[in-house]
């Protein structure tokens, strides 16, 4: 018996999926903001030259970059409350985990961006009599920021996809709704296909934009 596709199941449950999608977008934006801010602090710690700041910052970035996001999410959701006594809702645990994960990668983007500016330029600026702060503000940062834009945009797209992992701890975003509807309607094929299409439709234009950014901000030295 040939399988009969029933996309009306998707249409009927569209409001639920859209609600999930809204949550997915909110999670992406909020964790990106956390990641940008915390990542900057971590990068500054690593660049500070003081070991007491640099070592913990390095351990933080390496731990978050070398372990799976799922492990981080589950760890923060189940272990952190046991250790601190503060129980966070799935939403906040997920946000903390995603935010810190992004922060670790962001810290590396900031750091490599600053290092990528040729050392000679810094020396030249010093030779011209600029102070450290002036060199940073006038010479290094303007160039470094341009180089940080493409990897940050790529991070954003990866983050948008990674929010789906929060479904495993019960954050009600798009993937969670999909799994719920798939078992509720007995139509996993239609539901999962529809959700994959939604993710694709949103992530693909963004990754095209990322490619454009890489072209636009390519370093010519």
């Amino acid at each position: 018996m040939p399988y009969i596709w029933r996309f009306d199941v998707v249409i009927a449950n569209l409001p639920i999926l859209l609600q999930g999608l809204w949550m997915t977008c909110a999670l992406t934006v909020l964790s990106m903001v956390i990641g940008l801010v915390v990542g900057l602090v971590v990068a500054l710690f690593r660049l500070s030259g003081w070991r007491i700041l640099a070592v913990p910052a390095t351990v933080f970035t390496e731990l978050f970059r070398t372990t799976p996001l799922l492990v981080q999410v589950v760890w923060i959701f189940t272990v952190l409350p046991l250790m601190t006594g503060v129980a966070l809702s799935p939403f906040f645990s997920g946000l903390v985990a995603l935010g810190l994960n992004v922060a670790a990668f962001m810290a590396e983007i900031y750091r490599t961006g600053i290092y990528s500016v040729d050392r000679g330029q810094r020396h030249a600026a010093h030779a011209l009599g600029m102070t450290n702060a002036q060199t940073m503000r006038r010479i290094v940062l303007p160039q470094a920021v341009m180089r940080m834009v493409p990897p940050m945009a790529a991070m954003w797209v990866a983050l948008f996809k990674d929010t789906s992992i929060l479904a495993t701890i019960g954050v009600v975003e798009l993937m969670y709704e999909a799994r719920y509807l798939a078992s509720d309607t007995f139509r996993p094929l239609e539901i999962f296909t529809a959700v994959a299409v939604v993710y694709f439709a949103l992530a693909y234009p963004q990754s095209l934009l990322v490619n454009r950014l890489y072209e636009r901000f390519r370093v010519r030295e």
Partner: protein, 225 residues
């Protein structure tokens, strides 16, 4: 609110059940290594298809890459495990679904790595090689590939790291790898502090040496070229 009492770390929960965790680690390694091998082979094919002279082949390969790169891995694994059997009529095991997903996912990213590596060399050097009288095969073998491969090595290494990390997600379809074993053990012993921390450390121990290798390869082959 403070916890009733400060949690005491019972490391023996992990050491006593280490063989259970290591059984999961074994599956994680099998998944990562097998998918990496398949991913490289498939990725080479896709990269070749993306540089094909026929538009239709290029377009299909491009579509394949975009689909695997623009959807979440979790959506892919759930689709392959729950939806694909309905389309094909064949039930597949969690292991097969895991391998299919991980290797296809890796192949899409690797295909882009291969393509970018080849394109970064092709052009002037290829023309120079052809002008010196080399055949296209000779130019590829002697001039382009040796340089392209060394330039690709760091990116291939990063993909291998990603694959290990992504393999944790196949635990959602009850494929019994490290994360599945860790979560089961945490539930069984009620000691998630120690067990999940141990799992995180095992993953870090797997990927950190690879990360160091990637940094070394990057310094050695990319920055200095």
């Amino acid at each position: 609110m403070m916890p009733d009492k400060i949690p005491i770390w019972k490391v023996e929960v992990v050491t006593q059940n280490l063989s259970y965790l290591l059984a999961g680690l074994e599956m994680t390694l099998v998944l990562a290594i097998l998918s990496m091998l398949l991913g490289v082979l498939l990725g080479l094919l896709i990269a070749a298809a993306r540089m094909s002279r026929f538009l239709i082949v290029r377009a299909l390969a491009g579509f394949y890459v975009d689909i695997w790169r623009s959807t979440p891995f979790l959506a892919q694994i759930l689709w392959v495990f729950f939806a694909l059997p309905i389309v094909t009529g064949f039930r597949i095991s969690a292991f097969a679904a895991g391998i299919i997903c991980l290797s296809c996912h890796a192949s899409a990213y690797l295909a882009e790595v291969f393509r970018a590596g080849i394109l970064s060399i092709a052009g002037g050097q290829r023309h120079a090689a052809l002008a010196l009288g080399m055949t296209r095969m000779q130019a590829a073998r002697r001039i382009i590939l040796p340089q392209a491969v060394t330039r690709m090595l760091p990116a291939i290494g990063s993909q291998s790291i990603n694959l290990v990390k992504e393999s944790a997600l196949v635990s959602v379809i009850n494929l019994q790898e490290l994360m599945w074993h860790a979560q089961t053990l945490a539930g069984f012993t009620m000691r998630s502090i120690e067990v999940l921390t141990a799992a995180a450390l095992i993953y870090a121990a797997l990927t950190y040496p690879q990360a160091l290798l990637v940094n070394y390869l990057h310094r050695r082959f990319v920055v200095n070229s």
